[in-house]
């Protein structure tokens, strides 16, 4: 019995550590401005209001940032999945000299933090004429997600028996159809995990968005919200509302596909 109690006590503590700060953010976001600064603070808002969200949507460029973030993140997911599943398939199903070395080299690029190459990266993007475009962000995020996604998908493709694919070929399908109808469906958990990982990286990134994009109408959420935060005297209710709106897509997606994600993480590790 004492062991049970200790377990649940520790579990409760962990729950508080993980979730309480986020619950506090939500609570603040739902309070009218008078209640936000009340002493003693109220954990559950006495008078729930959406006025903070209303102000956020009406008086700031938040919705523009939101649209940009959604667009950039989705485009990154599509591009990354296309490029990495092609690449991973090439690395698994074709025998060529130097294959393992290439795979190792790809993993090595994973070790370089963006901050270590951001300067040449910026100059390069500038010379390509891509500064201040969404394309620059999509290409950066795709590149930095690639090593992880390639390795993750490679391990999934490796676990799919070649015979299944060959059977489809014998039945008269060409290779493209065999891949589309046999291999990809079987690798779906890996593809979903890679997609979520990519989405979260693109959605959360601050550094590239800070350096590569300067015009107001192209900014994504992290930089836009940081500007809102630094602009004037902090409007805590509105800033917490912004925090809630940015957090919802990430956690929503995560909860929706949690079991795929854990599987994928086990196979490839995470970064950050």
């Amino acid at each position: 019995v004492r062991r049970r109690l200790a377990l649940y006590g520790a579990g409760l503590l962990l729950l508080v550590i993980g979730a309480f700060p986020l619950a506090w953010m939500l609570s603040t976001a739902l309070k009218p401005s008078g209640e936000i600064f009340a002493t003693p603070p109220t954990l559950v808002p006495r008078a729930v209001t959406l006025e903070n969200f209303h102000r956020l949507f009406q008086e700031t460029n938040f919705l523009t940032y939101f649209g940009n973030s959604v667009g950039v993140a989705l485009a990154t997911v599509v591009l990354t999945l296309a490029v990495s599943s092609m690449g991973a398939y090439g690395l698994t199903r074709f025998a060529f000299a130097g294959r393992e070395r290439v795979a190792g080299l790809i993993l090595m690029t994973y070790m370089f933090a963006p901050i270590m190459i951001i300067i040449p990266f910026y100059i390069l993007v500038k010379q390509l004429g891509l500064v201040n475009t969404r394309l620059a962000l999509v290409l950066s995020y795709t590149t930095f997600c690639l090593p992880f996604c390639l390795w993750l998908l490679r391990s999934f493709f490796q676990s799919i028996p070649l015979e299944l694919e060959e059977a489809a070929l014998v039945d008269g399908a060409d290779l493209r159809r065999a891949v589309w109808h046999v291999v990809l469906p079987l690798a779906l958990p890996g593809i979903i995990a890679a997609g979520i990982f990519t989405f979260i990286l693109a959605w959360n990134d601050f550094l590239f968005a800070l350096v590569l994009v300067t015009s107001e109408e192209l900014k994504t959420l992290p930089v836009g919200v940081n500007d809102l935060f630094n602009a004037t005297i902090v409007d805590w209710g509105m800033i917490m509302a912004a925090g809630v709106v940015i957090t919802v897509p990430t956690i929503g997606l995560f909860v929706a596909v949690q079991r795929y994600l854990i599987q994928g993480w086990g196979a490839g590790g995470v970064k950050g």
Binding site: F94, P120, I123, L124, T143, L146, A242, F254, I262
Partner: protein, 291 residues
């Protein structure tokens, strides 16, 4: 059947093009830049050899950024390990609500850094923050503490970063814990080993290699962490009490627009990490332990 090697290369081509063009080329270009005086926006550039390296060797700000970076990486690493391994051990036990808790514990790691930062700035706010309110009410401090002022900014940054990144340790450590054969524990129980001794003599040796990797990755990630540190302290005021190497490299390049010097700092960051990694492998690599 169409399994020609050329098709394999063709499928890999887009990946290699992106990684080559946007990672490998910038790495080489960065090294080249570090040997030049270059403005971040203007095309002027002059070869200066190792001038920047010599400059930073005698630059107190560089050494202080290395020191702050080491304190930050070391402090967050130890606390992440303690909290992360503890949480993983807990989540490996059977109890009701375990699966929900396994999900919830990952939340801090999933949210954008900007959210984690504004959230903690609100919690730690000196006049209205919940943390100060609780501490004053309980009587641990007499007056609200300026958690984001110069005396406590490093502590606050470390606490906030541990909260944000410990889930990484939980996920990776838990994944390995789940593969330890239960017979090992049963044998230890039969021998009358206490829970602590079971942890010491079964769990730790079994998880040595995953801990080796976790420590390596977390150290690298924390030492090169930019956004959390920069967002927490900004560039003026209190920031010089937490100016780590990545933040220093960023301000050299994009605030003072000295791209050559910024690139030199990036190379130095890489060399420091490389040296630390080599030492780490020499000291702790254990090829005989179970994978």
């Amino acid at each position: 059947m169409n399994r020609h090697p050329l098709v394999g290369w063709l499928l890999l081509a887009p990946s290699l093009l992106l990684l080559g063009g946007l990672v490998l080329f910038p790495i080489l270009y960065n090294f080249w830049l570090s040997l030049h005086d270059k403005h971040a926006f203007m095309p002027v550039q002059n070869f200066v050899g190792l001038k920047h390296y010599v400059y930073f060797a005698g630059d107190p700000e560089f050494w202080s950024s290395v020191r702050y970076g080491t304190i930050y990486a070391g402090g967050t690493l130890i606390l992440q390990l303690v909290l992360g391994v503890g949480a993983a051990l807990l989540l490996n036990e059977a109890f009701r609500g375990r699966n929900i808790l396994r999900g919830v514990v990952l939340f801090p790691y999933m949210i954008p850094t900007i959210v984690a930062v504004i959230l903690w700035k609100w919690l730690l706010n000196d006049s209205y923050g919940l943390v100060n309110h609780v501490l004053v009410t309980v009587g641990l401090v007499r007056a609200p503490v300026a958690w984001l002022g110069k005396d406590h900014i490093m502590t606050s940054l470390i606490v906030m970063s541990v909260w944000q990144f410990f889930p990484f340790v939980v996920v990776t450590y838990l994944a390995r814990l789940q593969t330890i054969p239960p017979e090992l524990y049963e044998a230890a129980k039969v021998d009358g080993a206490t829970a602590w001794r079971r942890f010491l003599h079964v769990t730790l040796p079994q998880t040595y290699n995953v801990l080796f990797v976790i420590v390596l990755l977390r150290s690298i990630f924390m030492f090169t962490k930019f956004d959390t540190v920069w967002l927490m302290a900004g560039e003026g005021g209190v920031s010089r009490y937490v100016r780590t190497l990545p933040v220093y490299a960023y301000s050299r390049s994009f605030t003072y627009l000295q791209a050559g010097m910024g690139a030199t700092l990036a190379v130095l960051m890489f060399l420091l990490l490389l040296a630390a990694t080599v030492v780490y492998f020499r000291a702790f690599r254990n090829d005989e332990a179970a994978a």
